[in-house]
Symmetry: C2
Subunit: 364 residues, 2 copies
């Protein structure tokens, strides 16, 4: 066996576009993976499956068993987005697209959501935050994904007059994500911020106790505890203060969306959801039904999700970096999608989803 | 009875400095109230009471009965801040300063926290957000204060291995704050944003249903529903999109702190906590033990809290505006406290707490 055939990797990737612009952006993400396979001599096979509103329409279930089986059988999942505006205006709907997402996370044991907030120099001015505040920011969020108020019992009392939701965290849930975050901190700046609301919530007090305990295993890492309201403020005031951040499900949901503005746009941010089995890689943007089917969506978050997939699930660091470099070169060439264009962007440099994808492929 | 004696108001104000810089800043707030009383011919009497860590130290109770009685007997409360870092590092402490704050809100029925985010032109550049994004922003938050996960049952299960917190909202709680927010929207831009997480939480679905129902009583008001993670992002991306915002306790806690960065500093923001009895007026900043006793704290939020007190609890709009105008004139004179100074601020214009207070008094 020569070196080339040794390095050649056979992997099966499941593409799950979901709803709205999920279709358009994962199509570009998949093309980039195909080009990487061709260029680096890997053999990637693909399948596709339904989730969210699309799955409700087709099968009456936001996460059909068939989708779940295909996910379990694949080496990694390239995911799009779920959601449909018709449910937003119908708060009483029993079957909802987001249930598919939550069930997938639970079934695959995806307890950690990694969200790198990386800044491309070309986009520093795209943010509403001043470039001099932003420059050099590099944050890696670890958001807990399978616990908290998102998965506790919820319901109505008093003839529907009172609603409740139960937040719950157990020691092992905090421990396992804290370890992943500390491990990452050791490979980065050896700084970790844990975000909670320990001055009010019991779940947060447990969270802080466990993080403090795990911290003893990592004496080299400097640990800072912040309340979530303070962290929401500091993210704008001083983003460079953040390096690795570990936080609960709800707080992570809010803070990572807020942090997306540091990068100028949701359209540039990838995420990884990992646990003990198949990892799922997806943009942090939603289904964006306002621009669905118009060919305007920014595919770079899906492409960067493909890069994360190669890095984390397949250990293909060089291939991953090639994609990130292609994104950087496309941006340096002046190409922008509408969401990251500004007043200085020439009209002919504002491209749609497919043309941006072609530009990316040309740099691979 | 001549006009002057008719307009002369007799009011009793309770000053509750609390912890940390609460002492220093409410001292300035009180001086401003004294000057206003003298200038406009009102008769304000004052008393003082303990809360938070200070009250724990003195009486073993973060909200002594005596404090509560004095609050009920007063016409308005000028409040400082509560909190002490020793509890942050002791998550298991049973008696905590913040319990005093929570109990006060519950006992006085303070169900609505109003937080105006007003920008002083002079401070546009103090924010880390670009001035062109900020200019013209004017937001009024209504944060629900007595329900949600802050007041539900909380505790441990499985020998302390699992922690839980229960979030709960009843229809009447949402209704009464929604009405206050809609009333305010009618006197402003007739725009209201309701923030929830109705795609995941049952309490949020109740929240949205009730807001949609109350909205029918205000057909002139344009209502927008946003998820909390999206709102956290939009606050940075497009603050002018916000006018009146109504949201639950936890989401309001996070979003209003984030929004404080729009105003350049926590040190400039006042808040009112109102219900059916005595109203409480306080800065949104915390006890800031890192600068306590150093004479560096910005007293302007306490002074603007005094202005809100005069406006909302006493209906003294002219007196309130006189204070806001004095703050504006102090800023125009170039005076800054450390927290709102920038690289262009001459050193001799950076004043401490008391000197800033003297400057404010000179413009009244
Ligand atoms: Mg989110
Ligand atoms: Mg807060």
């Amino acid at each position: 066996m020569n070196l080339c055939s040794y390095l050649k990797m056979k992997k099966h990737i499941l593409v799950v576009p979901g709803d709205g612009i999920g279709q358009e952006v994962t199509a570009v993400g998949k093309k980039v993976l195909e080009k990487i396979a061709e260029k680096f001599g890997h053999e990637f096979t693909y399948d596709e499956a339904l989730i969210g509103h699309a799955a409700i329409e087709a099968a009456g279930n936001p996460l059909p068993d068939e989708t779940l089986e295909k996910m379990r059988a694949s080496d990694a999942v390239l995911f799009g987005a779920v959601g449909h505006p018709k449910y937003d205006n119908d708060p009483s709907a029993k079957v909802r697209p987001e249930q598919g997402l939550l069930k997938m996370r639970k079934e695959l044991g995806l307890y950690a959501n990694l969200r790198p907030i990386k800044l491309f120099d070309e986009l520093l001015s795209a943010s509403s935050i001043k470039p001099e505040i932003l420059r050099g920011s590099d944050i890696l969020f670890f958001r807990e994904l399978t616990g908290d108020i998102y998965f506790g019992e919820k319901g109505r009392e008093n003839d529907g007059d009172t609603a409740y939701d139960i937040a719950r965290y157990s020691t092992y849930e905090v421990e396992r994500i804290a370890r992943k975050a500390f491990d990452a901190a050791m490979t980065r700046g050896k700084k970790l911020m844990s975000v909670d609301k320990a001055n009010v919530l019991e779940t947060s007090r447990l969270w802080r106790e466990v993080v403090q305990r795990v911290a003893k295993e990592y004496p080299e890492v400097t640990v800072e505890h912040q309340f979530v309201d303070s962290a929401a403020m500091l993210l704008i005031k001083d983003p460079r203060r953040f390096d690795v951040v570990v936080t609960a499900n709800l707080f992570g949901d809010i803070l990572t969306d807020e942090a997306s503005q540091i990068a100028g746009s949701m359209g540039m941010l990838a995420s990884a959801s990992i646990g003990d089995g198949t990892g799922v890689y997806e943009p942090i943007h939603g289904s964006a039904h306002d621009i669905t089917g118009m060919g305007l969506a920014n595919p770079m978050a899906s492409v960067l999700s493909a890069a994360l997939l190669l890095d984390i699930s397949f250990g293909l660091k060089e291939e991953s970096d090639a994609i990130i470099n292609a994104v950087d070169l496309v941006l340096k060439s002046g190409v922008r999608t509408r969401d990251i264009a500004d007043a200085d962007t020439p009209k002919d440099k504002i491209l749609g989803t497919d043309a941006t994808g072609e530009a990316l492929l040309s740099y691979l």
